[in-house]
Amino acid sequence: MMEIGLNHYLVLSTILFTIGLIGVMRRKNLLLLFFATEILLNSVNIAFAAISHFYGDLTGQMFAFFVIAIAASEVAVGLGLLIVWHKRHSNIDLDALSTMKG
Amino acid sequence: MIDHILSILIFFPAVAAVFGFIIQKDSIRTYGVAVATIEFALSLWLWFAFDTNASGMQFMEHAALVPAFGINYILGVDGISLFIIILAAFFTMIGIASLTDTKNVKNMIVTLLFLQMTMVGVFAALDAIVFYVFWELSLVPMLYIIGAWGGPLRIYASIKFFLYTFTGSLVMLVGILFMAYFYFQATGVWSFAILDWYRLILPETFQLWLFVAFFIGFAIKVPMFPFHTWLPYAHGQAPTIGSVMLAAILLKMGTYAFIRFSLPLFPDASVFFMFPIAILAIIMVIYTAMVAYAQKDIKQVIAYSSISHMGIIIIGTFALNVEGISGSVFLMLGHGVVAGGLFLLVGVIYDRRHTKMMDQFGGLAHIMPRYATIFGIMMMASVGLPLTINFVGEFLSLLGFYQQSHILTLLAGIGIIVGAIYMLAAYKKMFFGEVTIEENRNLPDVNKRELIALIPLVIIAIWLGVYPKPVLEPISNSVESIVQLMHDKAQTEEAKSRIPNLAGKIVITKASQEEAH
């Protein structure tokens, strides 16, 4: 049985990050975009935690908590905005959201 | 008070301008004239208190701004900047006094006072950052003057003016930062003080690069061929007062900066680039004079003639000897007075007829004899007739450059021929012949307000042509110290031989005298 090392975590983190990135690029639904963002953040969290463990330094894990807190508040605010948007326009399609056109 | 006279000169108009906003519209003109007159009186006091025999900086002021990076508020004047400051104060005064009925007079006067602050600031600053700040700030009032009171193409002209000069000065800023960095590397301390930089001897390769960076900024401002095309637009669209300030003072920033920065900081590079720049300047002199001849709009004629004269100033500057540089500084003043005067004169006729096209005139000498006389005097001064202010400058500039190159001086001298051609042709078109257009028949001659502005200019143009000594002497003293500095700093053989050694000369003449005895 192979031992789970730092590289495995980092590979997992990279895979998750790629999935998140593709999600960010491909999804047209705002809600799914949030999901994708969460995946991105969590991939980073995994990397933080793993590296923190590897070096025996707790700063990385603290940072991961910090990221979680930020993600939570972001989701809270983001979901609030999303609901307001949905109430007004009754859809949350990204293509409809283009009032910031340059 | 005399210790802080330069700060007062810079900030008094600015403060007065802020108060200008709360002045009644009816009395704003009086207010503006009063402020500008006080400012002018202060600048005269500066001259009075100035020690004309000293060559270094006087009335130095020093205050720390960002000491960690050696950015300080340092001011000072020498013979070179003193008279340009006086000229700036003088032109603001007569500019406001002769202001004709423009809309939003209040804004105009406030803008002019702000402009004055930036102009005096540029010429008094001895710290590169302070210099740069004023240099850039001066664009803003000018942009506003052209953009708000200009002709039909004013937006295009003002944006072109702003972006063009701004681009140049950004390159200059990079040069300034590099210069400070080199200073830091050499001495371990940061400094943006120009006088500190003077002591730094850079390797020739660095000099070349920095020279080019500074050159781009200055050349666009001057404006040198081929960077000159913003100027005809700016002049063509600007209101009279805008053109006057632009031609009389703002253009001088470029040529002044050459003498303040390029020559003493980079003597070897100056010698290296002397001939290319002289050739550019000669092209500028002849080419723009020819273009001026083709113009149909009298204001454009004078605009292009400005460029042509700036070419002679550049030639004088890059003569790199006392005669040439003194001549070029003197010509800056001369051209300021003459071009400023000519633009005012164009304004006179524009106010009456609302056109600047020469074919709309003809025979004006019959109708407006006084106007024709003053225009004639100014034209002759512009052509560089002896005993007018421009001759002294042109003569000395060309005389100086003759030491460096015979053939190039001969070519630059063609400027005096082509200069006569376009000016006389324009004068003939406007003033001679019969009156052909009915509208012109009843034009009133120059009135009192216009005479207030024009008569002093005529007097100065002749006075300084006949007796330039009070101005030329301080200039010459300061220029001598710059030339000596350049000679001492020069490293290459060629630079050593091209830049005269004044200290050595005195020794030699003394020795030869002893021999003679």
């Binding site: 340059g102 | 003569f395 003759y402 051609i421 012949g433 006949v466 000369k505």
Partner: protein
């Protein structure tokens, strides 16, 4: 004595300013009288100085104040009254005083009366500065000053297109020459370190020949412009557009001789470079005959006199170039008197004929204008060089000098010119004053000029007659500073043969002119006669097509080139490239604004693309740094 110097110099300036005060007002007699009187005072002061100098007095040298001083350059307003300048001062003040008083009558009905006197006196002031200055820069002040006044006076009737055109032409042509002069001044300064005559001349023998030659050439280019030498001669004939007193004063007696004065003043330079001197003499001789030939056929009395002036200037340069400076100066003086007289006489004729200038339309005027006729005839005799009038003494010496120096070609040319001079001078005399009264056909009512105008002219008449007798005095005075050689033909026989031969030749030419042009069947030419259609006539009447050439090929091409430079180069190349650069930046913005579609999804895609690009750049640079040594070896292996 200094006091007199200042009076002589500044009285005309005061007069000019006084008249200028009345400049824009209608005619005020006092604006003419005061400058004239002040000139008289100047004349008296000059005479005092002349007596002082003749009496062997010291040369007067004053330094009024500093003009320009910077670096090693020091130029004062310094004035010197020596033998040369006092001669010039006398010429200038005498002729200008006469002309001033004459002009009070001549300009009687002109509405620019006051302005005229302001310009005229200003001219005299500039001319005095020119001749009295003790340095080249001061000379240049006067040099340009007379140019300016000449511009103002040629274009005095500024409503006339031809007058203003001629004024500008004169100014610009002179400017071309002035550039040469300026370069000459620069050369002198950088080689001798000063512009003062004395010091500069003292330093000159130590300089190498090439430098001196260049100095001589450039200064002479300046002289060529003022004195209208070929190829800068066309302005002089056109300058006749100005009022006649102006032509008499400026374009005959004084300003145009400034070039000769310059060469005489710089005699110490020119005697060091005889080659340039020979060139000057040859050019002078050429201009003498060249101008005389154009005078033969011209149908404008003022232009004929102008060409004769040109021709006489050629004589002066021939003399000066051969080293006979005092002869040149003497001829300059004598010429000033009789030529001014001739012009003023022509002015009387013009006045009588309502400004008609074609002598073919006159004829028989001698009956109504006896005094004018006598004066003009005597002036013409003086011009032709008949004994015992002024021209004989001055012109004959030039011929003698050319002969004695063994320049026989120049001698022959000048001799031939003497004949031509006599012929064309008497051609117009005969056409104007003798023969049938053709003017009646054109309905003119000629009348003699005012009495006081004639009286005003009389000093010139007297001088034109007696100036020759000054020769010995003159010689003894100027020999102190000019390399004075009495030119003696060694054998007496040759001398007498030459002199009498020349006289006979001239008399024959005069007689031929009278015979040809006094006859009763002279008609106003209408362009049909055989002579008028001959090539020679066309060539001469069109001034060898030189003005045509200048206009067609120089002026026009300059104008067209200017337009091309403006419309094509400045607007379409220089400015367009600036706008082009701005356009590219604008265009990039225009193109890339679509990226900013506002669609979150697209923007995110761009963001990712940017991140990837930057990351890959970072990786590439990182690798490059790590393997820099290997890369260098590979590159050097490739020979980069």
């Amino acid at each position: 004595m200094e006091k007199y110097l200042y009076i002589a110099l500044f009285a005309p300036l005061v007069g000019s300013m006084f008249a200028a005060l009345f400049g824009a007002r209608p005619k005020t007699v006092i604006a003419g009288l005061v400058p004239s009187t002040l000139l008289l005072i100047s004349l008296i002061a000059s005479s005092v100085l002349l007596v002082h100098i003749i009496g062997g007095g010291e040369v007067i040298h004053v330094e009024m104040m500093t003009w320009m001083a910077t670096g090693d350059l020091y130029i004062p307003f310094g004035f010197v009254v020596d033998q040369i300048s006092v001669t010039m001062m006398m010429v200038v003040t005498i002729v200008s005083t006469v002309v001033h008083f004459y002009a009070i009558g001549y300009m009687d009905h002109d509405k620019g009366f006051n302005r005229f006197f302001a310009w005229l006196s200003a001219f005299v002031f500039s001319m005095l500065i020119l001749v009295m200055s003790d340095n080249y820069a001061g000379l240049f002040i006067g040099w340009e000053g007379v140019g300016l006044c000449s511009w103002g006076l040629i274009g005095f009737w500024y409503h006339k297109e031809s007058a203003t055109w001629a004024a500008n032409e004169a100014f610009i042509m002179n400017r071309i020459a002035d550039l040469g002069m300026l370069i000459g001044i620069f050369l002198i300064y950088w080689n001798t370190g000063t512009l003062q005559y004395e010091e500069a001349f003292a330093a000159m023998p130590g300089l190498d020949n090439a430098t001196l030659t260049w100095m001589g050439i450039f200064l002479f280019i300046g002289a060529m412009g003022k004195s209208a030498q070929f190829p800068l001669h066309t302005w002089l004939a056109d300058a006749m557009e100005g009022p006649t007193p102006v032509s008499a004063l400026i374009h005959a007696a004084t300003m145009v001789t400034a070039g000769v004065y310059l060469v005489i003043r710089s005699n110490e330079l020119y005697s060091l470079i005889p080659n340039v001197g020979l060139f000057i003499a040859s050019l002078g001789a050429f201009v003498a005959i060249f101008a005389a030939s154009m005078a033969l056929v011209n149908r404008d009395i003022k232009r004929v006199i102008a060409y004769s002036t040109l021709s006489q200037l050629g004589y002066m340069f021939a003399a000066a170039g051969l080293g006979a400076y005092w002869v040149a100066l003497f001829h300059l003086m004598a010429h000033a008197f009789f030529k001014a007289l001739l012009f003023l006489g022509a002015g009387n004729v013009m006045h009588a004929m309502d400004s008609e200038l074609d002598p073919f339309k006159m004829g028989g005027l001698g009956k109504v204008m006896k005094a004018s006729m006598i004066m003009m005839t005597l002036a013409s005799i003086a011009l032709a060089g008949l004994f015992p009038l002024a021209g004989f003494f001055s012109k004959d010496v030039i011929l003698e000098a050319a002969f004695a120096e063994h320049h026989f070609i120049i001698y022959t040319v000048l001799l031939l010119t003497a004949g031509l001079t006599a012929f064309y001078s008497f051609r117009i005399i005969a056409l104007i004053f003798h023969g049938e009264e053709r003017y009646k056909l054109f309905g003119f009512h000629p009348h003699e000029a005012y009495k006081f105008m004639l009286v005003a002219m009389s000093p010139l008449l007297i001088l034109a007659i007696i100036a020759g007798s000054f020769r010995t005095t003159f010689f003894s005075v100027v020999e102190e500073i000019l390399s004075a050689t009495e030119y003696h033909i060694h054998s007496h026989v040759t001398y007498w043969v030459m002199t009498i031969g020349t006289q006979l030749f001239v008399i024959l030419a005069i007689a031929y002119a009278y015979k040809k042009y006094m006859s009763r069947d002279i008609k106003v030419p209408d362009g049909t006669s055989k002579m008028e259609n001959s090539f020679k006539y066309k060539l001469l009447i069109n001034q060898y097509y030189i003005p045509y050439f200048y206009e067609e090929y120089l002026v026009k091409s300059y104008r067209e080139l200017s337009t091309v430079l403006w419309k094509q180069v400045d607007m379409k190349i220089v400015d367009a490239s600036v706008d082009g650069i701005a356009g590219i930046i604008y265009g990039t913005g225009e193109k890339t604004r679509n990226m900013q579609s506002g669609n979150l999804s697209t923007m995110l895609k761009w963001m990712v693309a940017g991140t990837v690009a930057m990351l890959s750049l970072a990786v590439v640079f990182g690798l490059a740094v790590r393997y820099s040594d290997e890369i260098k070896t590979i590159l050097s292996g490739l020979g980069v």
